[in-house]
């Protein structure tokens, strides 16, 4: 199996309105600086979760069972690892769809000979697939939040509830923003078609989306798997 090498960056020239003295596109510099600042935002949220972990006076707890002394009601471990594993897989696959969307935009002008090349070269297909997978992830999160509330854990129940809903809620808000961004790109692609000249615009959306993915990689381990 031979593969088409894919371009991974914009080549600014002297007439590029987004060119900078560094020779790099200012939009890409901005998105990397933004991602850097987002690292610190999520570090503060993760730190808060980890510091409060195990300090809740009342349940339900993430990995342990708990009996309410006033009612005698038994609560199981609240985290649902199989469901979260499935949602993690969905988000990882959305990152694959995103890189394929970017590659399709970069190679838009290259003639597609075979069916597989036409499928791989369809930016609309991969942008829509990425957005759909993002919406699926949000569906999993909505299911999880709803089931937690029904089981007696809300943002006001205990320290675990407060820090958990804040951390995962912020991440969910970022995914929502990413889905809106992707659907906007899809609408533009439908209207006038995205081509190599739009590469940077798709690239910065892709960088944001992958960042949301890497944040979830950290959250999945630190919040869900480590007991």
């Amino acid at each position: 199996m031979t593969s088409v090498p894919l371009t991974a960056g914009h080549v600014p020239d002297a007439h590029d309105p987004h060119a900078t003295s560094t020779g790099l596109d200012n939009k890409k510099i901005a998105i990397w600086a933004f991602i850097g600042s987002e690292c610190m935002l999520f570090a503060s949220l993760i730190s808060t979760y980890l510091i409060y972990k195990g300090r809740s006076k009342v349940g339900p707890f993430p990995h342990e069972t708990w009996t309410d002394p006033s009612t005698g009601h038994k609560f199981g471990a609240i985290l649902n690892i199989p469901v979260t594993s499935a949602s993690t897989f969905v988000l990882l696959m959305s990152s694959l769809a995103m890189v394929l969307a970017l590659a399709a935009v970069q190679n838009k002008n290259i003639p597609k000979r075979t069916t597989s090349e036409r499928i791989l070269g369809s930016s609309q297909l991969w942008l829509l697939a990425t957005a759909a997978l993002g919406i699926t992830f949000l569906g999993f999160q909505a299911y999880e939040f709803t089931s937690f509330v029904h089981e007696g854990l809300s943002i006001r129940t205990n320290l675990f509830g407060s820090s958990f809903f804040t951390l995962t809620g912020f991440h969910g808000a970022h995914v929502t923003a990413g889905v809106i961004w992707l659907l906007t790109l899809f609408a533009i692609d439908r209207k006038r078609g995205l081509g190599p000249r739009d590469e940077v615009n798709v690239d910065i959306a892709a960088l944001y989306w992958h960042f949301v993915d890497v944040v979830w990689i950290a959250i999945f381990t630190l919040v869900y798997l480590i007991k």
Binding site: V4, A8, G9, L96, H210, D213
Partner: protein, 122 residues
């Protein structure tokens, strides 16, 4: 699935960043391989969670953290193209990332979380 090497795509590889520096770029097959590796690591992470012998051992947390770090690095290097991109982008990302990770570790020590764990292991 077959992909053919295309001359136009080859030409697009050269002279990246306008600096006359030729960079290698990931291919479609690389992206599929990365996705497979990420899925496998995630599957191992979940499997580890359900093995009581591993959960009770002192290696449970380090093993999970290492696997998570590997996944994190793979996504950043290949999907975010940081392996192939300009050095300034690497600095813009790794600088704040180091500050963020140092902050987490410092706060864990400050609130006695990490000290308790190190003491328990020792």
């Amino acid at each position: 699935m077959t992909h053919s090497t295309h001359p136009a795509a080859d030409a697009a590889v050269a002279d990246h960043h306008g600096a006359g520096i030729e960079h290698a770029h990931p291919t479609w097959s690389t992206y599929w391989k990365v996705a497979t590796i990420l899925t496998l690591i995630t599957a191992v992470e979940v499997w580890v969670y359900y093995v009581p012998a591993i959960v009770q051992s002192r290696w449970f947390v380090p093993v999970l953290l290492i696997m998570s770090a590997v996944k994190f690095a793979i996504v950043v290097l290949f999907y975010m193209h940081l392996k192939y991109d300009h050095r300034l982008f690497r600095v813009l990302f790794t600088g704040p990332l180091i500050i963020a990770m140092t902050t987490i570790v410092a706060l864990m020590f400050l609130f006695g979380k990490l000290a308790a764990r190190v003491g328990a292991v020792g």
